[in-house]
Subunit: 304 residues, 2 copies
């Protein structure tokens, strides 16, 4: 197992200008693991309820995702309901039911605890910390995501966690909220001061900016004609980003740059259909072709 | 003369989080012509009042800008007052005094009327049309900028103008307002349906997206640690963009891509100081170095 991910597995009710779904498989760990599965072997740590559809577990397994860490608990699977209105970038949360997620105690096998890449997807930073502390050997690379909720209600645990990771993936607004800085280079420096040596600032339809040791890199989002459902775009980015790094087994500047474009590639697929419908059915040629579209979108000739 | 520009010459009162200026030289034609002057010969068509500072005319001339079309009229120079608050991307207009600009009747010499590149900077589309109609020969390339005001109050003249230009440079919000489209590729297609065969959608701190015949290109904005005064960023972009195209005397896909990065380079300088203070004092090595910074900001290696 090259990457271990801990995060949410959920059933989402989603409404977007393109339509409505009552109960679709979602959650940060779902998007991450399916996206990363195109590049490397992934193990998923999470919790589901007794209402979990066996077809959904089968879908993970068809992507060679190790689900031995996906615990079934008494009760219902985590549920989130949200809608995207005119501003397709911002979800309005209508309802959150933690259900089995409320008492989630992650348990790691020996294989889990020795994974060389660890992604702590957006959940309570106390759970993220628990998983990190359960690793038998410190992974080669640890990255995490978070959200405004944890910045507000679990700031001390979050700051502790961030001090221990290599890379923070975070939305632009949340980076500003976390650091109190308005300009991205200042926000990145403030994040570096907390501990990480790289950070990916996610800017929705405007792409991402990656800050590393003495370099920065900007990748646009792919200019899609149709955005069906933005849910999971950030976690699909993270899956492509980490999946690529694990596949080349390097976290140097060159790999980080390419990984950010692979992440953008996966995010661009994720939003093309509801839930996981697009990214669970990709082929390697699909991914290669979209990556090339990013090459074409960004290439330019030197000054004459 | 390679480029002719018509637009405003103004004295601006500007307040930003970085400070305040009571009366600084500005206006779309000022930013454009100074920015373009680093690449080619520019002629400026505009109007000034009897309060215009001879030192400002001397500044243009020190950049080899032909000011024979800068008419002095009885009255005061156009004045704009605005402020940028927390959201440094959006100016709040506090006051506009058209002054001599209200009765502006552009007059073109033979040299003006034969310029091969024409930029119709953001002014009343009726004046933009008048200048375009005064050209002796149809320029090789005509581009224009506009703003929400003209979309609202002079829509028919604006649509007529856009049908006659090659390239529309426009802010993202205004592109959406003009076309009624939410997604950029749809907005670009709607602009193409009006006449142009390329369009640059300006996205402030998120950079620009260029749409051309069967290609798109995205350039990020340079991640600056300090934005002092965003006034004139769009016109400085346009000056670099058109200045580069005129200097290579080509408007093919490759030139348009590089031109968009040159534009972004000039815009990144413009916002570093108040008014024209930074872009009027650049050297060619400064520009080459910042262009290289864009190469580094955007380059990535192929998939492994």
């Amino acid at each position: 197992m090259k990457i271990l991910v801990v995060g949410s597995v959920a059933y989402d009710a989603v409404e977007t200008p393109a339509g409505k779904r009552e109960s679709q498989l979602g959650g940060s760990a779902s998007y991450f693991s399916v996206s990363a599965s195109y590049f490397t072997e992934v193990g998923l740590i999470g919790v589901i309820g007794d209402d979990f559809d066996p077809a959904d577990r089968a879908m993970y397994e068809s992507h060679d995702i190790d689900t031995s860490g996906l615990i079934e608990a008494d009760g219902k699977t985590f549920r989130w309901a949200g809608e995207y209105m005119e501003d397709i970038n911002t979800a309005v949360t209508l309802d959150t039911q933690l259900n089995v997620f409320g008492d989630f105690e992650p348990e790691l096998s020996e294989a889990h605890a020795n994974a060389p890449y660890l992604f702590l997807a957006n959940i309570d930073p106390n759970i993220q910390l628990k998983v990190l502390d359960s690793m038998a050997t410190r992974p080669k690379m640890v990255a995490n995501d978070t959200m405004n909720l944890w910045i507000d209600i679990a700031n001390s645990a979050l700051t502790d966690l961030i001090s221990k990771v290599d890379t923070l993936l975070i939305n632009e607004e949340e980076a500003k909220q976390l650091t109190g800085e308005e300009h991205l280079p200042d926000a990145a420096n403030a994040i570096f001061a907390l501990g990480p040596n790289s950070t990916v600032i996610k800017r929705g339809e405007y792409g991402v900016t990656l800050f590393g040791e003495n370099f920065s890199f900007a990748a646009p989002a792919y200019p899609l004609e149709k955005v069906t459902d933005p849910t999971g775009a950030g976690d699909s980015f993270a899956g492509g980003f980490m999946g690529y790094l694990a596949s080349v087994d390097k976290v140097d500047q060159e790999s980080l740059r390419t990984a950010a474009v692979v992440g953008s590639t996966m995010a661009s697929f994720a939003v093309e259909d509801f839930g996981l419908d697009r990214i669970k059915n990709l082929t390697h040629p699909d991914i290669g072709e979209r990556f090339e579209a990013f090459v074409n979108l960004t290439r330019f000739s030197p000054l004459k």
